[in-house]
């Protein structure tokens, strides 16, 4: 199969091609979805390097689990579900091991660190204000329960509709509606110092 032809195929056809022995089909799937998965991981883990590692782990998992994928399902939904579960497991393992503080601001990202230093030199007050706000938001998100946090990340940062989130999380649209409402209420409570009256 010619590489250009592969780009025209839909996800499920790519999965079929992969099962038929076309190795490029999996590369194309990874090419299509890696940015999305990377950003889901980044939102959950709040660390660039951890997010990159987690995204790689997710695609390795997907590669070896492709034979379990049911063709009647949507590939993207199946992939997001694996991604979300993987991130939640990483967070649980972090908590268990107490290696890192979840959502605690700077955690080893050099670029972010350099940007912070530049920002601090140019505009010290603004820098601390922004940094503090960012930490508060991260902490507020981290304090939400897994379901609320997943719904907020998938909707607010990844732009998924309620229906898509309900498919990823295996629940109803009305349940997502209520989860997001409660999550926003909780966030409003936690971030009340940063809200204008």
């Amino acid at each position: 199969m010619i590489p250009n032809d592969i780009k025209l195929l839909d996800d499920n056809e790519l999965v079929r091609q992969y099962h038929a022995g076309v190795a490029m089909a999996f590369e194309e799937l990874a090419e299509r979805y890696h940015t999305f998965v990377l950003n889901i991981c980044f939102r959950f883990l709040n660390d660039e390097n951890d997010a990159k590692d987690a995204a790689q782990d997710i695609f390795v998992k997907v590669h070896f689990a492709l034979n379990k994928f049911k063709p009647e399902a949507q590939f993207s939904t199946w992939l997001y579900r694996i991604a979300v579960n993987h991130c939640l497991n990483v967070l649980r393992s972090r908590k268990r091991k107490k290696w890192l503080l979840v959502f605690s601001g700077y955690s080893g990202d050099n670029k972010e660190y350099i940007d912070n230093i530049k920002d601090m030199k140019n505009n010290p007050e603004h820098h601390f204000d922004r940094k503090e706000k960012q930490q508060a938001i991260n902490q507020a998100l981290a304090s939400l329960n897994d379901d609320y946090r997943t719904a907020v990340i998938l909707h607010r940062y990844q732009g998924l509709s309620y229906k898509e989130i309900s498919e990823v999380m295996g629940t109803s649209v009305s349940s997502i509606e209520s989860k997001l409402f409660r999550a926003k209420k909780k966030l409003a409570e936690l971030l009340k110092d940063y809200l204008k009256n």
Partner: protein, 153 residues
Amino acid sequence: MKKIKTKLSAYLDGELDPEQVKEIELRINQNPELRSEYKRLKQVYSLLQREERTLTDPFFTTRLNVRLQQVRRAKKMTLWRYFWSRRILLSASVIAGLIVGMMLGVEIQDKILKTENPENHEIAQKYFGGKVLSTIPEGSITENYIKLSGQVK
């Protein structure tokens, strides 16, 4: 009221159909409490939006291919290591199997009673299913057993 507040959140997310949108907008205009709740939720979301940052990795698929090769190699190694780590157990099992096999063989051979004495045919019939061959091998387990039990003539 709680239900309408939940709908307020969906309205903010652009998840309502046109009719529901009309209804919510009407309610927001009429109800100050709902209006303030709407403003609060809107502010929360704009706060979250501030921190939007998108990660990219131009070499993702290249790294993934290398990683997949490593994982495949590791899986093969794991299989080999599994058998290698159990080599002592495997050798022991083979030796034990051979010993058991030999003992069974001796026992079966021994059970084929070899005798020329016709009087022993009855005993052979009784104890060994009538498999009477030429002679009882000197000092075989069967011979000793029969002698001890005093049945050999």
